[in-house]
Symmetry: none
Subunit: 192 residues, 4 copies
DNA sequence: AATGAATGAGCGTTCATTCAT
DNA sequence: TATGAATGAACGCTCATTCAT
C-alpha cells in the first residue's frame, strides 16, 4: 500500500525536478541570447528528449513557462504601485508603467510573449487578464482626471511598453539610462 | 552597331534579372515574416545557389540590398520634411519623425537593419551617416529653442522610432491608427 | 522473463546494426581511396544523417572507429612477437616491426590515424600508449645490446613504419614484395 | 601590319603573366597546406576562371606545373651529386639519394606527383625518365660493386624516398633531424 | 512516465565546370 | 583568347519530431 502510494509521489518529484532542470537550462540559453533547441536543452538538462516534449509540447509552452514567474512579478509590482499611490492617479499610472517597464526589460522570455500578444497557456492568460483589469482601472481614473489621452487603451500600453523595451536593446550595445525612455512615454501619454 | 554595343550589356541584363528575382522572392519571405534562407530563396527564384551567393554573400548583404531603396526614401522624406518646414523647428522635428516612422513601418527590411544599428555595406552606412547629420541638426535647433529634452540624441531617436514601429506590430493584428504612437513620442520628447 | 530482459537489448541491437552498417560502408569508401563524407555514407547505409552523426560526431571519430580493431590487433601481434622472441632482442625488434608493418599495410584507416600521430578517442589513445611502452622496452634492450642506432625512438618508428607503408602504395599499382622494404628498415636501424 | 603582328605577341605576354600569377597563388595555397580550388585561385590571381581552366585543364596539370621547377632542380642536383662523386659509387648513391630527399622534402607539389608515380604532362614525364636513367646507372654500378641489395630498382627508390619524406611529416610537428631517416635508408640498402 | 535512438527536412556553403559574351 | 556569371551537385551540420522500448 505505502508502496503504491509512494510511487506516483516519487514520480511527481522526479517530474518536477526534470521540469525545473529544463527551465533552468532554457533560461541560461535565453540569457546567452541563444535559441531554445529542445534537443540541446534536454541533453544539457540530462533529460530525455521525449521527457522534454512531455513537459513542453512546443516552444510557446516553454517560453511561457519561462516567463510566468516574471509575469507574476510584473502583475504584483504593478498592483503594488497602484495601491501604494492611493488616490494619486498620476503616480499610480507612472508607477504602474515603471514597474511593467522594469520587469519587461529584465526578462527576455516575458518580453517575447508579451510582444506576441497571445497566450497559449491558461495561467499566463489569467495573469494577462488581471493585468488588463488593473490597467483598465487606472486608465479610466486617469482619463476621468484629464491626465491621459483619450485614445489610449491597455493594449496600446502593452505595445508601447514592449516597443520601448525593444528600443533599449536596439543596437550593438544597450542604451544608457533606459528610464529616459519611460519618462518620454509617460509625458507623451498626457493629453495634448 | 547597337548590336555590338548591346552584347556586353546582355550578360549584365541576365545578372540583373537574377538579382531582381532574388530580391523579389526575398522580399516576399520577409513580408510573410519568414527568415531569408538563401537556399530556399535561390530555389524559389529559379536560380542556382551559387548565383545567389555570388550576388549576396551573406544574409546581411541581402537584407541591406532589400532595404536600401526604402532607406534612401527615408532619408529623402526626412530631408524634405525639414526643408519644407523652414524655420519652424517644431514642424521640422515632427515632420522628420513622421517621415521616418512611416518609411520604417512600411519596410520590414529597413526596420530590421535600422534596429540592429550596424551596417555592413558602405552604401547603407553612408545613408545612415547622412541621416544622423540631418537629425543632429534639427535636434540642435530644437534644443536651442527649448522644444526638446536635453538628454536625447540621434541614436535615441533611431531606437525610439524602431521601438515604436515594433509596437505597431506587436500583436496578432496591426494596431489601429499608428499615428497616435508617433504623437505620443513627439509629445514625450518635449522638455518636462 | 527473457522477453523483459530482451526489450532494452532490442534497441541497442538496432543501434548496433546501424553502427555496423555505417562502418561497413565507410570501410568500403576508404578501400576505394575515397573520403568519408558522412552524408553519403549515411545514405548508402540507408540510415538517417542524424543517426550517422549521433554515432560519429566527426570524421576523426569515424576513422578511429574503423581503425580500432586493426589497432588492437597490431598491439597484440607486436606484443606476441616480442614475447615469442624471449631474450633474442634482434628477433623481438624485427618481429615487432614486422607485425606493425603488416597490420599497417592491411588497414587504410589505421594507417591514416597512425600517420596523423594524434588520437581523439580515449580507446585509441590507450592502445597507442601501450604500443609506445612495448616499443620503448624493446628499443632500450636493443640499444643496450648494440643492435640499434642511438638516435631512434618509438615515435621515429611510428613515422618510419607509416612512411614505409605509404611507400608500398605510392604508385599506380602496389609494390612487389613489400617485405623488402621492411628488411631495408630493419637493416638500416642497426648502428653504423 | 605591325599591329597584326603585335597583337598575338602582346597576348602571349599577357597569357604568360596570367599563368605566372596563377602558379604563384597556387603555390601559396599549397604552402599554407590548403587545397587548390581553381575558383579561388583564379580570383586571387585576378584572372577569370575560364582563363585558369585554359591554362590548367585539370588539377594534375596545375600540380605538375607547380612541381616542374623543383623536379628539374631535383634532377640537376642528383646528376651533379653523381658527377661530383666520380668513381666513388657509394658516395654517388648516397649523394643522389640525399639530393632527391632534400628536394622532395622541400616541395609539397613535387612530393605529391612523385608519390602518384604517374605524369600527365610530357615535360614532367621527360624529367622522370631522365631521372630513372640516372638512377638506373648508379644502381647498376653499386650492385656490381656489391654496395647494394640485388632486389632494389629505381622505382623502389622513388617509393622509398617518397615514403621517407612522408615519414618526416607524419605527425603534429615535423620530425627532428630528418637526415637520420636518409641515413637509415642508405644503410638499409646495403646488401645484408 | 521516461528514455534516447532514429529520422529526414532543410539550411549554409563550397567548388568544379560550362558557356555566352 | 579572356572573362566571369551561372549552375547545381555535394557535403557539413542542426534540430524538430516521432516512436519503440
Amino acid at each position: 500500500m505505502p508502496e503504491i502510494l509512494a510511487r506516483p509521489q516519487a514520480q511527481r518529484v522526479d517530474a518536477a525536478r526534470n521540469r525545473a532542470r529544463l527551465l533552468e537550462v532554457a533560461r541560461a540559453h535565453l540569457l546567452a541570447g541563444n535559441d531554445l533547441p529542445l534537443n540541446t536543452i534536454a541533453r544539457e538538462a540530462a533529460v530525455g528528449v521525449g521527457t522534454a516534449y512531455r513537459h513542453f509540447p512546443n516552444r510557446a509552452t516553454l517560453l511561457e513557462a519561462l516567463a510566468i514567474d516574471a509575469f507574476e512579478a510584473l502583475l504584483e509590482q504593478v498592483s503594488a504601485a497602484i495601491v501604494a499611490s492611493g488616490t494619486d492617479t498620476a503616480a499610480a499610472l507612472r508607477g504602474a508603467l515603471q514597474a511593467a517597464f522594469n520587469e519587461l526589460r529584465g526578462d527576455a522570455a516575458l518580453a517575447k510573449i508579451l510582444s506576441s500578444g497571445a497566450f497559449s497557456c491558461a495561467d499566463t492568460a489569467a495573469i494577462a487578464s488581471d493585468l488588463v483589469t488593473a490597467f483598465t482601472d487606472v486608465l479610466a481614473r486617469a482619463r476621468r482626471e484629464g491626465l491621459l489621452r483619450e485614445d489610449v487603451g491597455p493594449d496600446d500600453l502593452r505595445r508601447l511598453l514592449c516597443g520601448l523595451a525593444a528600443a533599449t536593446h536596439a543596437g550593438t550595445e544597450p542604451v544608457a539610462d533606459p528610464s529616459r525612455y519611460l519618462e518620454i512615454l509617460v509625458a507623451g501619454l498626457r493629453p495634448h
